[in-house]
Symmetry: C2
Subunit: 144 residues, 2 copies
Amino acid sequence: MAKSNAPITEHLAYLLAQANREINRQLELRLSKEGVPVEQWRILKVLSDGDGHSMGDLADAVLLNHPTLTKMIDRMVSDALVYRVQDPNDRRKVLMFISDRGKVLCKKLNSLAVDQEEHILESYGDKSTSELKRLLESLIDSSN
Amino acid sequence: MAKSNAPITEHLAYLLAQANREINRQLELRLSKEGVPVEQWRILKVLSDGDGHSMGDLADAVLLNHPTLTKMIDRMVSDALVYRVQDPNDRRKVLMFISDRGKVLCKKLNSLAVDQEEHILESYGDKSTSELKRLLESLIDSSN
DNA sequence: CTTCAATTGTTGAATATTCAATATTTTCAA
DNA sequence: TTGAAAATATTGAATATTCAACAATTGAAG
């Protein structure tokens, strides 16, 4: 039986929040070299496959809710990183695409992100990293 | 060598964000029964030791930055869950304490949170959970 | 001692996020 | 075929967060 008086630092929810906050902070720091928030990097990366993604799909993929995504996309369209196309098969939908400018930026961001992953591998270890990834994936799976 | 064209779902930062989002959403759902955001539960839990905690310490412990914490504490003071005392040893500091009312609420919240942890244990497994916790702690350690 | 830098917490303005309501299009049952 | 319900994206108002500036206190060097 779980103890209700356990310190907060022993709760899974807290450990996840703490780890996420720290890793995200580090990534943020790298990406700030290009003046881009983490969410925009995610968006560019998802759109990098060249396919059109609806706003709904994209929102799920980049962990943002719809209105937040809409407004972030507005900014990215202003910056000419992505563009909207109405889905010809279902005109309720908007398909998002990455622009050439977006692709160029995405490459730079990818190398900054890889830089971070390598840094983690060094200090945290190869074994631990892949084991952690495996466990996280499995946790996410079991939560659906 | 890490691949820069790896899908975003393979990045540790993304997996952490995704897992954190999901687990936090579940916890939020439970705590909403008492109308309390997750951060307030964390605050109450940290203050449950009965000691006075400065705003700075508290901000670190509950993963909020200072201005956000100040404003959340303002609300909690209005709700009579916590109270401020000026630190007699260092009058720049404010020491936060939990009230009796806060303690009562905290107990209810704890059992809701334990409920969630038990639910995770069931669907995700005892072994995986403790192994994941261990790896997260170690990741956090190695990031300092 | 005095003064200047560092620490601590709060405030207000700027920014971002969220919730509820809306508009548009599609689906599907009658 | 029509009309109601569902799906999709956006908008605007309400709310929350963040950044930079501020005030108060302490520490420490000269």
